[in-house]
């Protein structure tokens, strides 16, 4: 036993916010990440930093490694090389998927996956940040505070009048919002959003853009998206991935005028 840990039981259990050390202004540090599948390098020495409260868009052609990058951050895929830190101290490569989720990294998948046989209310309730162990859920009751958070989230995602509808009956766009709502309920510090506007109408896209912009600030939001117009409408900083590493980074204008980017997108 380590000498400084003798009285550990006297020390309060560390809360999530004290574990995630963001004193240097960055919340995610990915360095030299390399992932290969049967010799094909999905990520090739990818290095990426994400600031606290930032709204970052990640674009890139198919196969650039956008989804693999998210898989690495959420613990689904383990890289061959490289380091991934969450705050200064938490090594993401040593944690399991649920552990990463409970430390505050939430992910929205490309295809909307909500619980179709549960109501909108129940979907949000399930996602809510709470003790998620078996015994606690058996007897759990929603506190007033949690109820308020749930109502606020409902308002944010614009599904107040659908609260008791089954999620399976929602439209495609509404499911996407519900899923974002479920992310918010987990009270994450980082939101990973994979193609949020695929298959949305123009109007739905605008609402989504508003929603995502309002989420950044308190939380860091990373959006992977193909739709350039949408990216332009929300992005402050854009990272272009190509063949598993960062090709360019900067404002949308700077990136779009970058000759390397033009070559990748138009030249090939």
């Amino acid at each position: 036993m380590e000498r400084d840990r003798v009285f550990e039981f006297l020390i309060e259990k560390p809360t999530r916010d004290s574990l995630v050390d963001i004193s240097h202004g960055n919340i995610l540090y990915l360095e030299d990440i390399t992932v290969s599948f049967d010799g094909f390098k999905a990520l090739n020495a990818l290095t990426l930093y994400v600031e606290v409260g930032e709204l970052r868009c990640i674009i890139g052609p198919n196969g650039a490694g956008k989804t693999t990058m998210m898989d690495v951050i959420t613990g689904k895929t383990r890289p061959d090389y490289g380091t991934a830190f969450y705050g200064q101290r938490i090594d993401l490569l040593r944690l399991s998927e649920p552990e990463i989720a409970s430390l505050g990294i939430g992910r929205k998948f490309q295809k909307p996956t909500v619980f179709n046989n549960h109501t909108v209310f129940e979907n949000l309730e399930l996602a809510m940040a709470a003790d998620k162990r078996v015994r606690a859920t058996l007897t759990s009751k929603m506190s007033g505070e949690q109820r308020d958070t749930l109502d606020e989230t409902l308002e944010m995602i614009g599904l107040v009048d659908k609260v008791h509808s089954l999620a399976g009956t929602l439209s495609h766009g509404q499911k996407q919002w519900l899923e974002i709502g479920m992310l918010i309920m987990q009270n994450p510090l980082v939101l990973l959003v994979d193609e949020p506007v695929a298959g949305m109408t123009k109007q739905e896209m605008d609402t989504t853009a508003e929603l995502l912009t309002s989420l950044a600030g308190e939380r860091s939001v990373i959006v992977v998206e193909h739709d350039m117009e949408f990216v332009r409408s929300i992005a402050r900083r854009v990272t272009v991935l190509h063949e598993g590493s960062v090709l360019a980074e900067g404002t949308m204008d700077a990136v779009q005028n970058d000759p390397k980017v033009i070559e990748v997108y138009l030249g090939s």
């Binding site: 649920p98 989720a101 619980f115 549960h118 399930l126 759990s140």
Partner: protein
């Protein structure tokens, strides 16, 4: 609040009401009404109904894992049989020196095999409370270990079904062996009494029936409490979108193991109530066919409703009793046909058919 949550389901309320009436009426009709009256319920019928109630409790247990958690277990009969064996061992020890060979401690089959002393795992079964703990502990432990191995490695779907089938088959082969010390293919039988009450008497039979009915009611309430809690919603989320549930921070395998273990314990209780009413337990109860029939009961009744599973168990077994008496060779064909028919025409079972004729239930909080 809690009561309204549990009793919200109309079908379940009906089931509890019918059970309550049965608990009161069957003893009266059997013991107090003269046997030449039309209202008299013969003891044979009481035991038959008691058997159906045990099957209903078993079906309820399967519905909890299959209907709500999506685990199609094709070996639930094994947990039922293990609970039954634990009860059977107690009943064997109760015989004492009244067996054919009159040995004060060893059951007849051990004397027959020239065994000198009682195997260690028979110790304690002369005490009722110990046997009752084993009734839930042994199936629960097996389910826990099996679930821990299977669910942690993320085995699911048809692979899990095949493994559970293999589990019950392996247990059947093991229990058939005389060396196992559970009576080989004859199993355990010739029971005399249970906590001092003669098993052949009408009063004991009626009491066993009533206990079965009460346990079925309690089992329903426990299952209903589980499925209407947040845990129940997590479990159905696991059924519908397992990886999604994992990503929002639930340890899916813990939920699966928990629900599987609880269900196995319920199945064990059903088995323990079954054995004194039929008077025998043998390795035939481990047959894979039994477990498959059980799945058919739940499918026919309507899975994911609890009371539907109980209803299915009752109806199919009633049909089995009447048909095997009238045309024994037709029964298996009829069961097969019924299963195909229900799968094709009534995916939600009989309960689904009933629900189709009334307006959709309003959603709730």
């Amino acid at each position: 609040m809690l009561m309204s949550r549990i009793l919200e389901d109309k079908g379940g309320r009906w089931m509890l009401a019918i059970l309550s009436v049965a608990v009161v009426w069957v003893p009266i009709a059997n013991l107090l009404i003269a046997s030449d009256s039309l209202l008299h319920v013969p003891t044979y019928t009481v035991s038959l109904l008691g058997k159906y109630l045990c099957f209903a409790l078993l079906a309820l247990a399967l519905d909890l894992v299959w209907g709500y958690c999506g685990i199609l277990c094709l070996g639930h009969g094994a947990f039922f049989a293990l609970g039954g064996y634990a009860m059977g061992m107690y009943l064997m020890r109760q015989i004492g020196d009244r067996g054919v060979y009159g040995h004060p401690e060893l059951p007849d089959f051990m004397v027959f095999l020239n065994w000198e002393s009682l195997p260690w795992y028979w110790y304690g079964f002369d005490m009722f409370w110990f046997a009752m703990i084993m009734v839930v502990f042994v199936p629960g432990l097996l389910a826990f270990v099996f679930g821990w191995l299977a669910f942690r490695s993320r085995v699911s779907g048809v692979y899990l079904s095949i493994m559970t089938q293999a589990l019950t088959y392996a247990l059947m082969l093991a229990f058939f062996r005389n060396e196992m010390g559970f009576g080989g293919n004859n199993g355990l039988t010739d029971f005399k009494e249970i906590i001092g009450f003669n098993l052949q008497s009408d009063v004991t039979r009626v009491v066993l029936f009533s206990i079965s009915a009460i346990m079925l009611g309690l089992g329903y309430i426990v299952c209903r409490y589980i499925v209407t809690s947040k845990l129940g919603r997590v479990v159905t989320a696991v059924r519908d979108a397992q990886s999604r549930t994992r990503f929002i921070g639930y340890r899916v395998e813990h939920y699966q193991i928990w629900i599987f273990t609880v269900s196995a314990m319920l199945a064990g209780i059903a088995g323990a109530l079954y054995v004194p009413q039929v008077g025998i337990i043998n390795p035939g109860e481990f047959q894979p066919l039994n477990s498959i029939e059980l799945v058919v009961w739940v499918a026919i009744g309507g899975r994911g409703t609890l009371y539907g599973a109980a209803l299915g168990a009752g109806l199919v077994n009633y049909a089995k009793t009447t048909m095997t008496a009238a045309f024994p060779e037709v029964w298996l064909f009829a069961l097969g046909a019924l299963f195909v028919l229900v799968t094709l025409a009534l995916p939600k079972g009989i309960v689904g058919l009933w629900q189709r004729f009334k307006p959709a239930p309003k959603s709730h909080e």
